[in-house]
Amino acid sequence: MNLEEYRTVFAVTTLGLILMAAFPTLSLVVPFPRSAERFSELWVLGPNHMAEDYPFNVRVGEEYSVFVGVGNHMGSSSYYVLYVKLRNQTQPLPNATASEPSPLPPLYEFRAFVVDGETWEAPLTFEFLEVSRFENSCLVRRVMINDVVFWVDSSSSWDSENNGFYYQLFFELWLYDVTLRGFRFHNRFVGIWLNVTAS
């Protein structure tokens, strides 16, 4: 190697070392994009905190319990509202494709603030307090959720395929949007089917 080539090697090495020395300051000034996907989790667990033994055949006057949980992977602390709704087989669920929530009014609700990367979980107990059955229909008048009594007055027709009167207890996740300064449906919902035939 001649002197010119040595000079180039020296200059490149020095430049590299200068960049290394400047990196800590640059990293504080230049915003580096985060590539991680942002999302939230929503789940329902059975009474034993497992994804099994969910209440299904329910009776009037008996208390059942599940756990609902939310996981935050949105990149910052998030503010969630979780609406608890009850529907029969013909009433609408949220529309995941159109990002539309169910038009049914919420019965109970949870509000949770979750730090990024952490989870939130709460127990939910429910009990059917008053159910009337006729020939081919069933009317749920009152339910109790977490010790609060709600008038429901929801009727269901006999499902001849599955032999029962079915209702679905479902949970809708809403997220507070700082730019909107309001809540928007977060396009996530889960639910459990309940057969009230035996009640």
């Binding site: 020296f10 800590p24 503010y79 919420p106 949870f110 603030f113 730090v115 709600f150």
Partner: protein
């Protein structure tokens, strides 16, 4: 006379317990509850936004988020009570929620200011370190290059030409 008094008292009591009066009181407690719930919602969201600002500035907000969750529970209870027509309960829960929300907001703003101050200090020291590091690298590199060049020249000039005899 005493009969007249009795009738007047009876009429006054009847007026107070009559349905328009009761409905009016009910309506006013509904308005009070609605306003309390709305106010609590506003306080809680502004507290949350303050917590987000503190988090963005680099503060550890876990404790504040836990307190926000407490307030969130109270607001949820207020909303449920309101929907069920328990306006007194709704107002009570909403007021409690608002109190916690206000406290969290104040703490979050303090934490944010502290975090911003710390970030400025950290930036200052990092920049000083970087500038110092770059100056040392440039200096050492310059001196190193000079020393290397001198040594290189000495070696090149020290090379003596060798005479190779051509025996062929």
């Amino acid at each position: 006379m005493s009969n007249l008094k009795f009738i007047i008292i009876f009429l006054v009591l009847s007026a107070f317990t009559s349905s328009p009066f009761v409905l009016g009181t009910h309506a006013s407690s509904q308005v009070v509850a609605a306003s309390a719930v709305e106010k609590a919602e506003g306080v809680l969201t502004s507290a949350y936004e303050a917590v987000l600002e503190a988090e963005g500035a680099g503060a550890n907000v876990s404790a504040l988020v836990a307190r926000l969750s407490e307030a969130g529970d109270l607001l949820a209870q207020a909303q449920v009570s309101y929907r069920l027509g328990d306006f007194d309960g709704a107002a009570r829960f909403a007021d409690l929620c608002g109190e916690i929300g206000e406290e969290v907001k104040v703490e979050a703003l303090e934490l944010r200011d502290l975090a911003v101050e710390e970030a400025v200090q950290r930036f200052r020291w990092t920049m000083i370190g970087s500038i110092l590091g770059m100056a040392i690298i440039v200096g050492v590199s310059f001196l190193g290059w000079r020393a290397f060049k001198r040594r290189y020249h000495r070696r090149v000039l020290g090379v003596r030409p060798e005479v190779v005899s051509d025996e062929s």
